[in-house]
Structure formats: C-alpha cells, structure tokens
C-alpha cells in the first residue's frame, strides 16, 4: 500500500512536470532552442488565472482562456523582440537571451505582484477518487492533469503530423534554409510554435499552482528546470517522450524520497537521469540520428 501511495504521489508530481515539458519539447523540437523563459511564462499564466478567477471572480474556464490568450500573445511578443533577431546566430546566443527574458519576467512580476506568496486556489474543485477503502487517494488535480497531458500530447502529435503548419514545423526543425526553399515561412512557423508553447504554458501554470498552491514571481523557474530535465529524459523533441519523461521523473523523485533519502532525493533523481542517458544517449524516446558518412 505504501508503495502505491508513493507511486501515485509521483504520478501527480510527474504529471505537472510532463505538462511543462510538453511546452519545452515543442519549442525545442522545432525552434531548436532551449527556452529558459518557459517556466516564467508559466508563472505569468498562473498569476493571470489567479487575478481573474480569485481576484475578479470569473469562472474557471473564462480565466484560463484569458490566461491562454495573454500568454500566447506574450510568447509571440518575446519571440519577436528577443529571439527573432537572433534567428541566424548560434543557438547558444538565443539561449542566453532567453535567460535574460527569464530574469526580466521574474523581476517584472516582482514589481507588479510583489514578493509575498499567494496561496493559489485550485482550478479543479473535484476531490478525486479514493481506492482501497480510503487508503489510496488520487486527487482530482492529478487526474485532470494527466488527462490534460494526454489530450495535449495527442493533439500536438496529430497537429504536427497532419496539418500544413505542422508539416512546416517538421521541415523547419530539419533544415531552415531548405524549408524556405519549399515555400515555408520559417519565421512565421517559429512564431506559431512559440504561440502554441506559450499557450500551453498558461494551462501548465494553472495546473502547476493547483497542485502546488504557492505562487511567487519565482514559482516557475525550478519546475521549468525540472521539466527541461524531464524533456531530455524522455528524449528532447519527442512529444510522447516529454510525457513519459515527466511522469518518470516525478515517480523516481518520490520513490527516492520514500525509500532512499529525502535529503539526497535531488542527487538521486539526477543520478538516475545520468544513468539512463548513458544507456540510452538520446533519452527514452529520442531519435537516434546517426549521421550518414
């Protein structure tokens, strides 16, 4: 029973990682950049939900929609101002700019919302299900998060495989110049990717803070790094990989806490990550792209 409890705890944490990792992996897979500001867009999304829902008393759905719209716009704005000028520069330059954007969003939020923590009201009111005569409990947030993850994953995979913009994304991720030669608007495609990634960040923000109810300007940064780890774990660029990576990371983290040492849980999680990557150098579902010589 203990094991199952810990497993479920892991699942619920992992589902939050997974939903963030989906956004990471999407942007990485197509724009080939690590958007370190992703976690901070999540934070902004969560504040927006909080302000509209708890602050102005709007219905949950409305406030999430508002948050999605605002985050999408924010994502596109960031992309245009800070990333687009560096399209032809090395990926590393964009990575650094993303870090600058991350600082900017954090400090902006600090000025606007202040440093005091806010206790976030869960957007999910459903209590969840109880199994084994009350011994096991899966919270509503967990179930909804996992379902949302699955829906997003399937939708993204379908989108990328079957739509024109999705096709364009695949081409852009392979070779931008060649994509241009196919008549694909590379800038537009990358902007669209950011728009989708940022929209997902809004959803992730609402669900993250529903599971972990404290909101500060720095709420997004650590889960952001963890989700990045999860995305790599699952094979960065791979959409189902992000889901699996997120869930596994959450489960390993909780089992390590439960059975080995809660002090060294971070170290254990990272050690497992390293071992997995040594065995499978491109992550669990990552494509092995061996160069043809």
């Amino acid at each position: 029973m203990g094991f199952l409890t810990y497993l479920i705890n892991g699942l619920s944490l992992g589902s939050v990682y997974a939903i963030i990792a989906l956004g990471y992996t999407m942007v990485y897979g197509i724009a080939k950049m690590l958007n370190f500001a992703h976690g901070d867009v999540i934070m902004i999304g969560a504040y927006l939900v909080f302000m509209t829902m708890t602050g102005s008393g709007m219905p949950v759905v409305v406030s999430i929609v508002i948050s999605i719209i605002c985050c999408t716009a924010l994502g596109m704005l960031i992309e245009k101002v800070a990333y687009k000028p560096l399209r032809k520069a090395t990926n590393l330059a964009v990575l650094i700019t993303a870090i600058g954007v991350s600082y900017f969003l954090q400090n902006m939020a600090l000025l606007i919302f202040g440093s005091n923590p806010i206790s976030f009201t869960s957007v999910i009111t459903w209590q969840g299900i109880t199994l084994a005569g009350g011994q096991l409990k899966i919270t509503g947030v967990t179930i909804i998060t996992i379902i949302t993850c699955l829906i997003i994953m399937v939708a993204l995979m379908w989108f990328v495989k079957n739509t024109k913009p999705g096709q364009a994304m695949r081409a852009v991720s392979e070779d931008r110049d060649a994509a241009t030669l196919m008549g694909i608007n590379v800038n537009g495609t990358i902007s669209l990717t950011f728009a989708i990634g940022s929209g997902l960040a809004a959803i992730a923000g609402a669900l993250l803070c529903s599971s972990y109810p404290v909101l500060t300007p720095y709420t997004g940064s650590m889960p952001g790094i963890k989700a990045f780890t999860a995305a790599v774990f699952g094979g960065i660029g791979s959409i189902p990989g992000a889901l699996i990576g997120g869930l596994l990371l959450g489960i390993i983290e909780n089992l390590a806490k439960a059975y080995i040492s809660s002090q060294l849980a971070d170290a254990i999680v990272f050690a497992v990550l390293i071992i997995v990557l040594l065995v499978k150098p491109t992550g669990i579902l990552g494509k092995q792209t061996k160069e043809k010589v």
Partner: protein, 372 residues
C-alpha cells in the same frame, strides 16, 4: 503589491548636517525577496517615525537598504556599497549565510551590526560586534523540544526540514539534540531542498506511516502553507509545530486559514496581537506598504528602536567614529532592557544572543492565541 522604494539617497541629508547613517542588507529580489522586503519596509517605518519625533539624540537618521539576493558574496558587495555611503551602523543582514559573511567584514571594520533575522550561531561566533534580535537557532530548537516535551504535545515526532537552508537545518539539529536529551522519540526525519519544494506528500506520507503524531516543521511559512494544504489532502492531521519562520502564515494572500487551525508556532510576534504597539505598527505598515507585516518586519522594526535606546543611553552623536560607536554600542546594548513588538525584557549577552522568551502560540479561529 508592496515596494519599499524609499531607500538610500532619498534620505541622505544633503544639507551637510550630521545624520545617523544606518544601513540595511537583505534580499529584495530573488526567491527570498519577501523576507528582505519586509525588513526594509519595517526599518523605513521606524526610521520615519523616529525622524518625525526628532531623531536620535537630536540627529535625524538616514537609511540606506541594499539588496543581496540572499547571496553571501552579493551581501559583501552590498556592505561595501553601504560603507562607501558612510554607514555607521548596520541593521542586517536578513539571511544567515549572507550575515556570516558580512559579520566578518563589520567585525574587521569595527562597525556595529544588529541583525533582525539571521539566527545561525555562525553569525555571532567570533564577532563581538554582531547582535541578534531574533532567537538563535539553538535557542529555538531547544525551546521547541522543551516545550513539546513539557506539554506532552506528542510522543512520536516527525520532522520535515529544508536541508538546503542553513536556518532550517540549524534549528533541526538543535531540536534533535534536545529531543534526545528530553527523551522524545523522533520517528521520521524527512527533508526537502529549495529545488524540490513543490511536493511534500511523500514526506508527509512517510511521517504518517511512521506513526508520527506531531510534526516539527522548522522552516518558512511559504513552504508551511503548502505542507498544511498537502497534509490536509492526504488526510493527515497530526499536531503541527512550526518555529518562528511560520510566522506570516496567516498573511499569505488567499490562504485557507482553516488549514492552519491548531498549528503551534514559536513566535515573539503576532500581527493580530491586540496590544497598542503591535496594532499601530501593523496598521501603519499596511497603510504604507500594503500586505501584513511578518515577524522579520517586526524584528527589524524593533531593531531600530533598540539602536535608538542604546545610542541614547550611550549619549553618542553622529560625529563619533565608527569604531567609537561600535565599542560604545557593544557595551551599551548589554545594558539595554527593551520591550518591543517581539518580546518583553529583551536583553543581550556578550555572545550577541538575545534573551527573550520565545512564545509558543497556537492558531485558533484564524488568529494567534498564546499557547500557555
């Protein structure tokens, strides 16, 4: 939102008149910003009050607060900035790690230092010029264990602490020592880190399955609010015992205070206490900065008045050298007996530690009630 933005140069007296230059250091950006901002605001409040009343020994106070992002090196940089400004007395720094680094500097430069909230013994060890307003870690750990044992609050104790935080692990260590001495049984010791503070359910579950009927939680209220929420979610309801870091819990915006019902914490200060001093402090703070002041703020506020009292008793004027001020205050603060927001009859020994009785309070009906 809140923002203590009237720092530094605003207050420097440009007319060339002599002023007291008091500096402050703490995190106002970064993950610990809430603690630093509380301190900055509260000092500002006290300084404004004192200046309005004519200052200390007839001299106005200029106050300059510098950000250290809770980073020791940045704190030293902040300290040097203040030194260039001409700081005579330092009220800071907020966090222990930074404070230990800065104390070494102030000790070397002979500048008197009074920290509102850095509770580690490493802050005062070997630095005769540094004094604490808050309880020290050993003090809190010991008092907590004693209190739990004496009042039979629990027999099987679970501990969750922040192993990446000097304050939290410091209190835990001393608690564990004293618990051993008092024959308390610690059945589970769990921890988390700053990088891993999203989810406490596993730690809570472990304590639960170890049969802990009391949880000792020596960390800050931000994580505290999460622990309480998640304990409620898994249906675990032991006696919760926090230390002074838990103060502020009820001030978390939108927090469901019913979750905090029955939580014990050690605090010298309660924002909703009914005495006049607290009431006036809280209302002016809220008016000026918005948000409820926490214990950090209260300690910092007291600090300014303690300095005032000591300076007045020593009969100092701002034209004295830093060293003179420092020496005089070291001697004088040990004579002070101060009644403030955070304690009655506060006195200091030559190790720099405060003696004030930590008050255990219990949260009842969304407010603090003395646990005695």
């Amino acid at each position: 939102g809140n923002s203590g933005n009237s720092t530094g140069s605003d207050n420097v007296d440009t007319s060339g008149e002599l002023v007291w230059k008091i500096g402050g250091i703490g995190p106002v950006t970064g993950g610990a910003a809430q603690y630093g901002q509380g301190v900055e605001n509260a000092i500002q409040l006290a300084v404004d009050e004192i200046n309005a009343e004519g200052g200390i020994n007839g001299y106005q106070i200029a106050f300059n607060f510098q950000d250290d992002e809770a980073d020791a090196q940045k704190a030293v940089n902040a300290y040097n900035t203040l030194k260039d400004w001409g700081m005579q007395i330092l009220e800071g720094t907020v966090t222990s790690g930074s404070c230990a680094a800065v104390s070494a500097e102030t000790n070397n430069d002979r500048i008197f230092q009074l920290t509102p909230s850095a509770s580690s013994t490493s802050v005062t060890e070997g630095n005769d010029n540094t004094f604490q307003i808050c309880f020290s870690d050993p003090n809190q750990g010991t008092v907590s264990a004693d209190y739990i044992a004496d009042n039979n609050l629990g027999t099987k104790i679970g501990v969750i602490y922040d192993s990446s935080d000097p304050y939290s692990s410091g209190v835990y260590q001393n608690f564990a020592l004293e618990a051993q001495a008092k024959g308390l049984e610690i059945v589970a010791t769990e921890s988390f880190t700053q990088d891993n503070k999203t989810d406490f359910t596993t730690q809570l579950n472990k304590c639960k399955s170890a049969g802990a009927d009391l949880l000792f939680l020596p960390f800050y209220y931000q994580e505290g609010s999460v622990v309480l929420t998640q304990a409620d979610q898994i249906g675990y309801d032991p006696v919760m015992f926090g230390v002074d870091g838990f103060d502020g819990l009820l001030g978390v915006e939108n927090f469901d205070v019913s979750l905090a019902e029955g939580v014990y914490l050690l605090t010298p200060f309660a924002a909703d206490a009914t005495d006049d001093a607290t009431k006036s402090f809280v209302s002016s703070y809220e008016e000026k900065f918005g948000g409820t002041p926490n214990q950090f703020a209260a300690d910092a506020y007291d600090g300014v008045y303690i300095l005032k009292e000591a300076i007045e008793a020593a009969g100092l004027t701002p034209d004295a050298s830093n060293e003179e001020i420092c020496d005089a205050l070291i001697a004088q603060i040990q004579q002070v007996n101060y009644n403030g927001l955070t304690g009655e009859n506060m006195t200091w020994n030559d190790a720099g530690e405060v003696s004030k009785a930590p008050k255990a309070v219990i949260i009842k009906d969304g407010g603090y009630v003395s646990a005695e």
